[in-house]
Symmetry: C2
Subunit: 335 residues, 2 copies
DNA sequence: GGGTAGAATTGAAACGTTTCAAACTGTAGT
DNA sequence: ACTACAGTTTGAAACGTTTCAATTCTACCC
């Protein structure tokens, strides 16, 4: 049924070793022979069997990438960055979506481990890195993405979320807002708690400013909607005058609830700032301010670190790259 | 270095065959033995080697999915639907992004063929199905996604794009608009030409109505922006009074250019309708009307057809499922 | 106690590739 | 003519799993 190197070898009347060499080290084979083998391959429609290659090689040519949420354009962008860089090394990226769910995350880790991936890129769900530690001991390089690793543990690529949170809150305060609501959750997710921490610091610097935490179950549009509905039920006295959403999906949901279903105006009644600066932030019903992160660069750099770690003897110190986030100001925080 | 079944067998003092049976047919092994083998696995930290499994099995447990554009939430949603259904059969989905680029599409097809994927789901770029035909003859079931296959060729899952285009244009006409611009491209992409065809039919039914085609190089936000800029340069007499964008990304770009950088109002000066009804359409600067497609359902159904084809002897007729699109009306076409 | 059905276990073969030491060729130098 | 040597080619071994026919074990019945 399937055509194998053996068949090709027979058709070109050479040995299997030669066929393999034509495929992998053409310079070691006489040009005439290369020619002959190539046409046999063409004729028989031979297609390499990747499973056999991998088995022999011990490692696959794929990189596993586990993200928190594929529906979030931020992660799509990270993935694209990683893919670009990986493709340049003729590596493939396998995308896994944990959906911020521990069970699914574990399932992908198992899967990638069984596949003997070349390396693993992951935005881990929680602080428990034991599983990843085990993976690495097994010889799979691991790089943390969008999350700073504890020193001397893993390589990581991250954006300073505390700084980002600080930027966001300071911007709101600079606009004269004093009662800030931080919307986001679960707080167990490091990105969320760091952004909150940053916001707290900014608020602490301004006399008379207060921050309230409105926890959510996830970082999605519907959750944002729900919070929006709840906020506008409040009396003006109880209501915050600015909202800092832990990511742009929440911000979109909030906006939708406030403007479309409710009667609160943004930014007049409530200023709004999001996080990630996804493309859609600029075209939202009220284009909203956000904290921009270099998503694609994050992905590319993560692959770089991975390759570095893979080529080394595992003896080097892990490297931790941290990018600075950047404020992007739009209508939702003007006036 | 790596722990293999052989090591586990030795540790549990059984044969390799028994270890394999514990893993794959536990019911065929005495409970006490299962117990012993399992603890040996645990102790040694044994992890199955997927490459070896696949090599033996002849096929991998993954489904390849090639989409036109991962940045388009419509395709993300299709992918999620496919994943859900695949996961239920403990299959994995490998996501490939052709980016509407023939070379990259071909690269993914090669890759998936080498991986001996369980099956292939693809939104093909052009009308040339010869490559896919070859793949199928090689024993890989193929299902076309979001594109109706010619009768008796492949199984496919699609949404009636002609009907969708008709719905969109008729809606604009029903709102009193008479000079409609169709924005989209490349026209070689079937989805685009079908939607245009539908629109043409609707326009033909109304006396005094005209349609103008504004071709684009891709279906992206920046392309939409560019067209938006161009449109608002025109004099009111030359300008269309309604735009039908071939997808929502274009629509977002158009909206951005018209409202933010320009001085045209939507829908007063120009009505706008998109296609796909991605989540962000509802929260756009002017929430815009769109043609909704059941994206996740498309993905799930595609996997169903694939499994059906894979289980059969390849003798059955290919099945072609077509869903109906649906109009969703929002502010961009009101009044 | 002999026979047997059935359950449990064994171990070699096969999947298709790559690697690598060994064998083979032909050419050039002495 | 003989050696040295580089350039080619060879073929067996190894990667780790699953399968399956053959074997051993167990328990039961007559």
């Amino acid at each position: 049924m399937t055509v194998s190197v053996r068949d090709v070898a027979a058709a070109a009347s050479v040995s299997v070793g030669t066929v393999s060499n034509v495929l992998n080290h053409p310079d070691k084979v006489a040009p005439a022979t290369v020619e002959r083998v190539l046409s046999a391959i063409e004729e028989l429609g031979f297609v390499r069997n990747d499973a056999a290659r991998q088995l022999r090689a011990g490692r696959s040519r794929s990189i596993g990438l586990v993200v928190l949420d594929v529906r979030n354009p931020f992660f799509t962008e990270v993935a694209r960055g990683a893919e670009d860089r990986a493709a340049a090394e003729s590596l493939t990226v396998l995308l896994g979506n944990s959906g911020a769910n521990g069970t699914r995350e574990a399932a992908y880790l198992d899967l990638f481990e069984e596949q003997r991936v070349h390396g693993l890129l992951i935005t881990p769900l929680n602080e428990d890195l034991a599983r990843l530690e085990r993976l690495r001991r097994g010889g799979t390089p691991v790089v943390l993405v969008d999350r700073q690793a504890p020193p001397r543990s893993f390589s990581s690529v991250a954006v300073d979320d505390v700084a980002g949170g600080f930027l966001a809150a300071r911007h709101l305060l600079g606009r004269g807002r004093r009662r800030i609501a931080f919307v986001g959750g679960p707080l167990g997710i490091r990105q969320v708690s760091d952004r909150l921490e940053g916001a707290r610091r900014a608020v602490a610097e301004v006399a008379g400013a207060a921050i309230e935490v409105v926890p959510t179950g996830s970082l999605t549009v519907p959750e944002g909607c729900a919070v929006g509905e709840a906020l506008q039920e409040r009396s003006p006295a109880e209501r915050p005058d600015a909202v800092f959403a832990a990511n742009d999906l929440l911000a979109m949901g909030l906006l939708q609830a406030l403007m479309l279903r409710g009667r609160l105006r943004v930014p007049e009644d409530m200023a709004l700032i999001g996080y990630d600066d996804i493309d859609f932030a600029a075209t939202a019903i009220v284009p909203f301010s956000s904290i921009r992160q270099p998503a694609a660069l994050l992905g590319r750099t993560a692959v770089d670190l991975l390759l570095q770690e893979a080529s080394g003897q595992g003896t080097e110190e892990p490297r931790q790259v941290v990018f600075r986030p950047e404020l992007v100001e739009r209508a939702s925080t003007r006036a």
